[in-house]
């Protein structure tokens, strides 16, 4: 290890998170090590113990992890999706052959997972933007989280039913 400690990011959650060292030492809980959070630098430059930082396993931490995981999953599918769509340039046989994979009973549930990721990531993104830009956003953090969860389910559940009906 060299260089100055790198800073972790809050991903727009509006929360001060900071440099690492406790995480590397293995004293922080696994989830904290996963997201690279450790301790906050206080005004005197000393480190606030991990137990006093904001992310210690609450909803904020989990929504932050889910946002990353869903984002990376969608990006992964996007690369695949650009490749499959590019097959139209090679002609109908190639494209239709490949798209057949998406229509299999094995793939349909994965498609539903993808849609869940898209809905979650979209609405969580809106929540993050509101907390950043709306001056009361931080105060209504909990109602916003509840609204996001409810709205996600309202959009997702009917979509999942419609999408999965054909395979049953």
């Amino acid at each position: 290890m060299s260089a100055a400690p790198k800073q972790a990011r809050a991903g727009g959650e509006g929360r001060p998170i900071a440099p690492t060292s406790v995480a590397a030492s293995g004293r922080a809980p696994p989830a904290a090590r996963l997201i690279g959070i450790v301790a906050e630098v206080d005004e005197t430059g000393g480190r606030t113990p991990y137990s006093r930082t904001l992310y210690r396993g609450g909803e904020g931490m989990w929504s932050w992890i889910l946002h990353r995981v869903s984002g990376l999953a969608i990006l992964g599918f996007l690369f695949l999706h650009i490749l499959d769509t590019s097959l139209v340039a090679l002609g109908p046989e190639h494209y239709n052959n490949f798209v057949r994979i998406y229509k299999t009973t094995f793939f349909r549930p994965l498609e539903v997972v993808l849609i869940a990721a898209v809905i979650y990531h979209s609405l969580n993104g809106i929540r993050v933007i509101l907390i950043d830009f709306w001056e009361r956003g931080a105060r209504y953090e909990r109602p916003l989280a509840v609204a996001q969860t409810v709205l996600s389910l309202v959009l997702f559940l009917p979509a999942a039913v419609i999408m999965l009906r054909p395979i049953f």
Binding site: A3, R9, P92, E135
Partner: protein, 134 residues
């Protein structure tokens, strides 16, 4: 009224925003809002209603891309989603890869891949010729 820089610093108090950092942060928010309509529309049309993925075929794409509107829609979504995803992945790389050399390598691979896919997607969307002229 808080300036953009102040809003950014509220999220990252320990980072002084470089102009590039501030712009990419803002791009995430703007592209996110634009995609809220574009992407949820895309999902509703292609995956949920009207038979979903069941009816997707070469003929479906050819009919869809015979007009200017859907080609532009799809291309815009491609660009926004890819750049949004690439910037997000870059932040993940910055956070987790601590070794300098490895981080530079990961970043280079990400930027190259993004560029290649952006070029591929753009070429396919722009040059596609529906059979029978479109």
């Amino acid at each position: 009224m808080a300036t953009l820089g102040e809003v950014y610093e509220k999220s990252f108090p320990s980072r002084r925003p470089s102009p590039w950092e501030l712009r990419s942060w803002l791009f995430m928010r703007i592209s996110g809002i634009l995609m809220l309509g574009l992407l949820l529309g895309h999902v509703a049309i292609m995956h949920v209603f009207g038979g979903g993925v069941e009816r997707i075929s070469f003929e479906f794409v050819a009919a869809r891309w015979s007009g200017f509107f859907w080609r532009t829609y799809d291309w815009l979504l491609l660009v926004l989603a890819l750049l949004h995803g690439a910037i997000g992945a870059r932040i993940v790389i910055e956070d987790y890869i601590r070794r300098d050399g490895l981080r530079v390598l990961a970043r280079s691979v990400l930027y190259t891949t993004t560029f290649v896919f952006l070029a591929l997607g753009t070429i396919v969307t722009v040059t596609f010729n529906a059979p029978g002229g479109g």
